[in-house]
């Protein structure tokens, strides 16, 4: 066996960088902290590539399954003999794949940010938080047990909170960061309940023993059933609730669009490529338990994913803030991944969906971070997020234009670009097991192509907007990451993914299913063509369409009023009928008791404090008269 102990350095280097730049960053020149952060991440990235090479190619015997490897593990908390919490590094195909995704995108975002954040206040703080996030995310994917994952899960939540609220002087950013934190935290409550239930049924936290097909989780046959789902099934549904919160799936999606208040590189890193796919990673991590232990829970995953992808795609067509369009598109694509996991089976070709989901995660990380960074370059040039302020930018921003177009082709699923291959595998997986979801995904594929090209044309074509000062192309430090990611968006589609990442570790051959692929290509092309027709030149048709379906349009434009619904539920119901009485109890009963104790102490000390006057003779008098009094008592009265 190859020694993988060095992999613990991959998360630890960003941690060291975080501590260093966080503590000493204000003393150095801003650019230095950016360079330190990028260098640290660069080393992590090189180590990750080396690990991937070692794991997938060098140490692997062809024809055998990829086995999980515990590179390092130490006992962190020994609560009782049986309840031990460990920290460690687990390498298996999905974690190694995630290492590559995270370090690559994070490195690109670091380099890009050196240019993008130039002149901002809190430059070193930004890089310190980016390193903290990279550390947490790497720790999350390398977790050997579900509890370690939960710890890092919360850490990524915190770093996301800190980065969304980076412009802490802007009230909307503060509100968005709070919203993101509270919503994901609420979802994590479900995750924690799920962990407790799961470890109660299986008596283990460890992923290897949890996911082993002969392990306690699957062998336990799920325990007693409640409302048609076994105990195991319920625990998985709760765990999925945590994943859905992090991945902005349907009922818990409301934080993601608001999270776009953060700096754009943050949106690219956290809210497109890495953190939001943590939910997908979680389900993929526990996939054997889902697939073999509780297929019903997997069906929940599939439907939530499918619905979210359609729901978000419709909203994305109506938004005008370019980052929000991308946010909804992220939600839609993550829905794809969830759905793909949901329709997958376990083992061999049955596990096509599992492979496709991870593949899509991989390709999506490249093209979506590229889209965000491209959008960042556009925002950098025109100082606005709104696509109505843009137009005709292709002449001013040639590199951004080309790379953005490549990413649009990739996400729309045009053949030859990475998104086509992974999306096709997802569609094939859906086609083989769940027809209703398959048709939903066909529709979503078309809508995706439509709204992406609506975005593209509105930014780069359409009207010749008159700008206050001529927009200029971003500096090379920003465009080079764009080009690298554009390269990745093309070539990652040609990786024979089914040879590396599969549900049971065994390689299988996945072919493009042309009977599925050709209609999907046609649908994508129709979507693109429609967008071209409507948005390439300024025309009145989009407004007419909006007028033709006024109610639906308004509904979608306001994101189906989900924010309002949540506000209603929280403000009018939870705050009024639960929080207010609880607050009253807290203020009057809990605080009252404590204040009463404090007041009593204060009163007592107030009344006896004159006793200690500092007057020597008073002390002497008290001492001597007490001695005499005691003498009298003991001699005469006893």
């Amino acid at each position: 066996m190859t020694d993988f102990t060095y992999t613990i350095l991959i998360p630890l280097i960003p941690l060291a960088v975080f501590l260093f730049t966080g503590l000493t960053g204000h003393k150095m020149k801003p650019i230095v902290s950016g360079i330190i952060g990028s260098t640290g991440l660069g080393i992590s990235a090189i180590l990750s590539y080396y690990t991937a090479f070692q794991y997938f190619l060098n140490s692997h015997v062809a024809g055998t399954a990829f086995l999980p490897v515990k590179a390092a593990e130490l006992t962190w908390l020994r609560l009782t003999e049986n309840l031990v919490i460990k920290l460690g590094v687990l390498l298996d195909p999905i974690s190694v794949m995630m290492l590559i995704v995270i370090t690559t995108v994070s490195l690109m975002v670091h380099i890009y940010s050196i240019g993008y954040m130039k002149g901002e206040r809190g430059y070193h703080r930004f890089f310190a938080f980016l390193s903290l996030f990279s550390f947490s995310m790497l720790g999350l994917v390398l977790a050997t047990n579900i509890f370690q994952m939960y710890i890092f899960w919360e850490l990524v939540g915190v770093s996301s909170f800190l980065l969304i609220g980076f412009y802490y002087e802007k009230p909307s950013a503060v509100a968005a960061s709070k919203k993101a934190f509270i919503v994901t935290r609420f979802a994590d409550l479900g995750f924690l309940i799920g962990i407790l239930m799961l470890s109660f049924t299986t008596k283990t936290f460890d992923f290897i023993s949890l996911t082993s097909p002969s392990g306690p989780a699957i062998a336990s046959s799920g325990g007693a059933s409640f409302l048609g789902l076994s105990l195991l099934g319920w625990s998985l549904v709760f765990i999925f609730m945590g994943g859905a919160g992090k991945s902005a799936m349907f009922p818990l999606h409301i934080w993601l669009p608001d999270a776009m208040e953060g700096p754009t590189p943050v949106s690219a890193l956290i809210h497109a490529a890495t953190m939001v796919v943590a939910g997908v990673y979680l389900v993929a991590r526990l996939f054997p338990v889902f697939a073999l232990g509780a297929p019903d829970a997997l069906l929940v995953v599939a439907w939530v994913g499918g619905f979210s992808s359609l729901f978000a795609a419709i909203i994305a067509c109506t938004q005008t803030d370019i980052k929000r369009v991308l946010a909804y598109s992220t939600m839609s694509q993550i829905g794809y991944m969830m759905l793909s996991l949901g329709v997958s089976g376990y083992g061999g070709h049955e596990g096509l969906g599992f492979m496709a989901s991870n593949w899509h995660l991989f390709t999506h990380a490249f093209f979506k971070s590229l889209l965000f960074l491209g959008a960042g370059a556009v925002i950098h040039a025109v100082h606005s997020n709104d696509m109505r302020d843009m137009g005709g930018l292709r002449k001013h921003l040639p590199i951004t234009h080309i790379t953005f177009l490549i990413a649009c082709f990739a996400i729309a699923g045009v053949p030859g670009f990475s998104g086509f291959f992974s999306k096709d595998e997802i569609l094939s997986a859906a086609f083989e097991s769940n027809m209703p979801l398959f048709y939903i995904e066909y529709a979503v594929a078309g809508i995706t192509a439509f709204y992406m090209f609506r975005l593209y044309y509105n930014i780069f074509w359409a009207k010749e907007t008159h700008y206050h000062h001529t927009p200029h192309e971003a500096p090379y430090i920003m465009t080079i990451p764009l080009m690298i990611l554009a390269f990745g968006s093309v070539v990652t589609g040609f990786i024979p993914f089914s040879h590396f990442v599969t549900s049971d570790g065994l390689a299988f051959e996945a072919h493009i299913n042309w009977s599925v692929a050709i209609p999907s290509i046609i649908i994508a092309l129709v979507g693109i063509a429609t967008a071209t027709l409507l948005y390439r030149k300024v025309s009145g048709i989009p407004d007419k369409i909006a007028k033709a379906i006024p109610h639906f349009y308004k509904w979608a434009y306001h994101k189906f009023y989900f924010d309002e619904l949540y506000l209603f539920v929280t403000k009018k119901i939870i705050f009024r009928y639960i929080s207010t009485p609880v607050a009253w109890f807290d203020r009057h009963v809990v605080d009252g008791t404590m204040n009463g104790i404090a007041n009593l102490t204060q009163y007592t000390s107030e009344s006896i404090k004159d006793f200690q006057s500092g007057r020597l003779q008073q002390y002497g008098f008290v001492f001597i008269s007490s001695a005499i009094a005691l003498a009298i008592i003991f001699i005469f009265l006893w």
């Binding site: 006057s613 500092g614 020597l616 003779q617 002497g620």
Partner: protein
Amino acid sequence: MTEGIPLYYFLVVSTLMFFIGIFGFLTRKNLITMLMSIELILNSVNINFVVFNKYLYPQNLQGHFFSLIVIAVAAAEAAVGIAIIINIYRNFRSIEVDRVDQMKN
């Protein structure tokens, strides 16, 4: 030398000295006077030691020795006490005890 004087008389003298000392300690404001009062208290105790030894256990010498120790300690105590008083005087420009009622200036 002491024949014919009963023990009782000595005890009266030492008791008087003791309470004069206590009274001085509690009433006089001047620190040096207070120190002198403490000497009175100590000396009254010395008288007790010597007298009890002489009258009750003439064959032993512990009482005499103990009073010698007390005298030595009292001398040391007076030296330390006067040093403290000088420092107080430097800080407060006074050796009145009721002015000295705070740890900080």
